[in-house]
C-alpha cells in the first residue's frame, strides 16, 4: 500500500470511528431523536476492524500512532490548512513539505497530517 493509499484509508477509518462514537453517545439520541439499528452498528464495527487490520499490516508504526492519538485527542489524523495543523493550530515549520515519500506528523502535537487541496 502506498503512503497515499494508506492515508486515504486511514481517514476513512477515522470517519467510521467518529460515526460509531457519535451514534453510541446517549446524548445523540436524546437531543436529536434519531434512531440507529444496533445490528447495523455491529456490522459497521466489523468493517472497521477489517480496515484497521489492513492498515496495521501495511504500516504498524503509523497505525499504532493513530490509535494512541485517538485515545488522547479523539482523532489521529487531521488536515493541514494554510500550513497550519488543524489539531493544535501550530504553524508548520518551513522545512515540512507535503510529499508522498513519507507520512508526515505534526512536530508540535504529533498527529498524522494530510494535505487535501
Amino acid at each position: 500500500m502506498s503512503n497515499k493509499e494508506f492515508l486515504k484509508k486511514l481517514y476513512f477509518l477515522q470517519d467510521l470511528d467518529l460515526l460509531i462514537q457519535q451514534v453510541e453517545d446517549p446524548q445523540y439520541t436524546e437531543k436529536t431523536g434519531l434512531q440507529v439499528s444496533p445490528d447495523k452498528v455491529e456490522e459497521l464495527k466489523r468493517k472497521r476492524k477489517e480496515i484497521a487490520q489492513e492498515l496495521r499490516k501495511a504500516n504498524p508504526m503509523m497505525y499504532q500512532r493513530y490509535e494512541m492519538l485517538r485515545r488522547k485527542y479523539g482523532r489521529g489524523i487531521t488536515r493541514v490548512v494554510n500550513r497550519m495543523c488543524t489539531n493544535c493550530f501550530a504553524a508548520l515549520p518551513a522545512s515540512i513539505i507535503p510529499t508522498d515519500e513519507k507520512i508526515i506528523t505534526c512536530p508540535n502535537c504529533s498527529i498524522i497530517l494530510i494535505w487535501l487541496e
Binding site: F12, L19, D25, T32, L34, K40, V41, T78, T86
Partner: protein, 151 residues
C-alpha cells in the same frame, strides 16, 4: 444557532433528485469542493444512512456527518417539490432536507446542539401539517425555517 448556519447560497429551491443517492449528491454539489472531497463526503453520509435512515418522517430528512473535508460546520437546505424516496422511517417522500456537516475536530457539543436545533425546528414544521415547498427565493426559505426556531 440555526441563524448562524443558514446561508442563502446553500439553499436549493427545487431539487431534481429522485433517490437517496441523487439527493445526497445534489446537496453536496452546493458546496464548493473538488470532486475527490465530494466523494469522501458522500461515502461518509451514506455510511450514516446505512445505520438507519435520517429521514425522520413526515417529509423531513437530516443527513449528517463529521468529515475531514469541511473547514467549518456547514448546513445545506434542500426543498423537493415532488419529494424524494429517502427510505424514511414512515416510508413517506422527503420534501425538506437539512444536510449538516461538521469538522472532525468540532467540539461535539456544538455539532450535537446544531443537530438538536434542526430536529426541534423539524418537529415544529411538521407539527403544522403540510411542509411548505413553494418558495420564490432562498431568503423566504431562511425566514420560513427561522420562524419555527423558537428558543
Amino acid at each position: 444557532m440555526l441563524k448562524e448556519l443558514l446561508r442563502e447560497d446553500r439553499i436549493i429551491l427545487d431539487m431534481k433528485a429522485e433517490t437517496k443517492e441523487e439527493a445526497l449528491k445534489e446537496l453536496i454539489d452546493v458546496l464548493d469542493l473538488p470532486d475527490d472531497k465530494k466523494e469522501i463526503l458522500f461515502k461518509s453520509l451514506m455510511q450514516r444512512e446505512i445505520l438507519g435512515s435520517t429521514g425522520i418522517g413526515k417529509g423531513i430528512a437530516i443527513p449528517h456527518s463529521r468529515s475531514i473535508v469541511v473547514d467549518n460546520i456547514t448546513l445545506v437546505v434542500g426543498i423537493s417539490k415532488k419529494g424524494v424516496d429517502f427510505e424514511a422511517l414512515d416510508g413517506k417522500p422527503v420534501h425538506l432536507f437539512f444536510m449538516l456537516i461538521a469538522t472532525p475536530n468540532d467540539p461535539s457539543m456544538k455539532y450535537l446542539s446544531a443537530l438538536g436545533s434542526i430536529a426541534r425546528v423539524s418537529r415544529s414544521i411538521v407539527g403544522e401539517g403540510e411542509i411548505k415547498t413553494d418558495f420564490s427565493s432562498p431568503k423566504e426559505v431562511v425566514d420560513y425555517i427561522l420562524s419555527h426556531d423558537h428558543e
